[in-house]
């Protein structure tokens, strides 16, 4: 059942403010990597994740902070990851680019754009053998020109894997406009492999939820893969480095047009002012605590550099001759 309006509002507000805090922490140097902000795209995360069962598995990508928060990852531990601390969800081994949080059902984020789709397909296949959990792969418009992603469409379709492919089409891959990169369309690619696909407004979390719930239902009931393309927009640059560079790949008018469909405003309009204020206050509290936790968490010990490299450990030689 579709969550209440204020629940969506809360998620979107949390993601928005979390990212804004992150940008501050990038400026202060606490998040060394910079981030790929998803500001403007929060409705996709909110609606999509609400349609999942907690034990479903999601493979995220480089612009994934929203997915984590929407799935209930602890903001403090997640932020501690972005600041590279041992209290992070990945003990500081992932940072902003490659995080995972299995407690929140997020199984990782491959830095190889598009390749998470095949990993999710394998994961979905494995989960389906032991129950009715499903897998979700989230990627951008840039990923659909990566052959490995299209290979996964073929495998998922052939083997009727319970996987939902979610394309967050924000119109650009870094500076490259989607129409100059994608011959044909996103949904046309999926359809070519016999995968049901639709293009859906990604700015309204309720619309997102409905489309996603249908795809999840299909997967869970043995109907196989489907693809949902959510049209959306990022208000920030591709990565925070753009704050230091002037890259004139999109004009102000276009940004302004999309700001008119700000998911935060869309959802705010559905929530009474007093409820909104309460939610906003709670979000700030949560984030204050999260920032505190993230910055107080210890830095990793260099002596532990090889921890977690292997599950079945082996002896490794250092980089200096020990004789």
């Amino acid at each position: 059942m579709r969550p209440a309006a204020e629940a969506f509002y809360g998620t979107i507000r949390l993601i928005r403010r979390f990212e804004e805090r992150c940008i501050d922490l990038v400026r202060s140097g606490d998040i060394g990597s910079g981030i790929h902000p998803c500001i403007g795209q929060e409705a996709v995360a909110a609606g999509m994740c609400a349609a999942l069962r907690p034990d479903d598995a999601l493979l995220s990508n480089h612009r994934g902070h929203g997915h984590f928060l929407a799935r209930g990852s602890d903001p403090g531990r997640f932020l501690a990851e972005l600041t590279g601390r041992v209290g992070g969800v990945d003990k500081g081994r992932a940072g902003s680019f490659h995080p995972s949080d299995l407690s929140a059902g997020i199984w990782g984020a491959s830095g190889t754009v598009g390749h998470g789709a095949a990993i999710a397909t394998g994961l979905g296949w494995a989960l389906a053998r032991d129950g009715d959990r499903i897998a979700v792969s989230v990627f951008g418009d840039g990923a659909v020109t990566q052959g490995a992603l299209l290979e996964s469409f073929n495998l998922a379709s052939l083997w009727r894997v319970p996987v939902v492919f979610v394309c967050e089409n924000n119109g650009y891959a870094t500076t490259l406009p989607a129409p100059t990169a994608i011959a044909g369309s996103v949904v046309g690619r999926a359809a070519a492999f016999g995968i049901p696909a639709s293009t859906v407004d990604g700015q309204d979390p309720e619309v997102v939820y409905d489309a996603m719930a249908a795809a999840v239902d299909r997967a869970r009931s043995g109907g196989g893969p489907s693809l949902v393309e959510f049209t959306t927009y990022r208000y920030e640059g591709h990565h925070t480095f753009e704050r230091r560079m002037r890259l004139a790949y999109r004009d102000e008018a276009e940004v302004a047009r999309w700001r008119e469909r700000d998911p935060l405003a869309i959802q705010a309009a559905r929530v009474p002012p007093d409820v909104r204020e309460a939610v906003d206050a709670e979000v700030e509290e949560v984030l204050d605590a999260a920032v505190r936790f993230a910055l107080e968490s210890p830095h990793p010990d260099p002596a532990d550099a090889f921890d977690h490299l292997y599950a079945t450990p082996v002896r490794l030689r250092a980089g200096v001759s020990h004789a």
């Binding site: 500081g92 995080p99 190889t112 494995a126």
Partner: protein, 322 residues
């Protein structure tokens, strides 16, 4: 005692492990008809654990990563050495890093099996590579069994290992047969080499099928030089202690390796020996040349760029003389 072929040993290891562990499954091309003899009989016994794939090596390699994270233990078979270069990124940069990137939350127990690495007479420049050094360099666990018994034991250990492991089976070793008592077949731990023949004058470290060539050369030189043959069996992890003990005894070292010279396994072994071991004479490598491409269809040219017994003999003689 029954004769066990190398290919049969692979088949037996996989069958035994699929019997023992329902999470093990196998995927790859032309598996149903067991083109490489590895999957013979498996489709009948485990019909839903043999996944025959289209020609989508990167896709199914990533698929295996996901399935492994989801609790399965995939064994992925590849038909040609270069296919491991095609999926190098998926193995070394994705499968092999997910555990670290998750801070230990996930494990990725995938076994990548190449039942035929190196030169197959006639198969052309794109089918004759030896990519194992690349995987070891990038930190992917890498084994290269020389005998049927080792093929059984190392393949089994690779499947049971909780990390990605690549198993390279040298083309010329596949037809090899060995007297084996089946009850002696057992897992062989990664990172433990083996002295195949003891000797006192020089250690020959030989990789893969060249172990057998080295043993033949040792026989041939028996009256003249006492050759110890050391088979590392696994490249990463590597049995440095075993090699050091051998070199300690002999004081001399020759590496016999079918990989390219530059930055190959021979380089690593000589470098480590130079740093850490006491040598009575400069060590030598017998390898493929720098930048070698085995054209694969004109044996005259092919053999000219692969290490030979004659080269090994000359290298041994030079090392013991100096």
């Amino acid at each position: 005692m029954p004769k066990l072929s190398y290919a049969k040993a692979l088949n037996r290891a996989l069958t035994d492990e699929m019997e023992r562990d329902p999470d093990v499954f196998v995927l790859g091309e032309d598996l149903k008809f067991a083109l490489n003899n590895v999957t013979t009989g498996l489709l009948d016994r485990f019909p839903d654990r043999v996944l025959e794939t289209p020609l989508s090596e990167q896709g199914f390699t990533n698929f295996a990563t996901g399935a492994a994270m989801g609790g399965k233990r995939p064994v992925v078979e590849y038909q040609i050495p270069f296919l491991l270069l095609l999926v190098l990124e998926q193995i070394a940069n994705q499968a092999n890093k997910f555990r670290l990137m998750s801070g230990g939350q996930v494990k990725v127990p995938v076994t990548y099996l190449l039942p035929g690495t190196g030169w197959r007479p006639g198969w052309g420049a794109q089918h004759s590579d030896q990519p194992y050094g690349v995987f070891a360099h990038l930190g992917v666990k890498t084994v290269i069994p020389a005998t049927p018994t080792d093929a059984y034991g190392l393949f089994l250990s690779a499947i049971r290992d909780d990390d990605p492991v690549v198993v390279f089976c040298p083309m010329p070793a596949l037809a090899m047969r060995e007297d084996v008592s089946y009850v002696d077949l057992a897992p062989i731990p990664l990172g433990v080499g083996r002295v195949r023949r003891t000797g006192t004058d020089v250690t020959v470290l030989a990789v893969g099928h060249l172990v057998h060539e080295a043993l033949a050369v040792a026989d041939e030189l028996a009256g003249e030089v006492s050759v110890e043959v050391f088979d590392p069996r696994s490249l990463h992890p590597f049995d440095w202690a075993g090699l050091a003990a051998s070199v300690e005894r002999t004081g001399r070292l020759v590496v016999f390796d079918d990989g390219n010279r530059f930055c190959g396994v021979g380089a690593e072994v000589l470098a480590t020996a130079a740093e850490e071991m006491r040598l009575a004479a400069p060590p030598k490598r017998v390898t493929r040349p720098d930048a070698a491409v085995v054209v694969g269809c004109a044996p005259e040219l092919d053999l000219a760029v692969q290490p030979s017994r004659a080269q090994l003999v000359a290298a041994i003689q030079a090392v013991v003389k100096s």
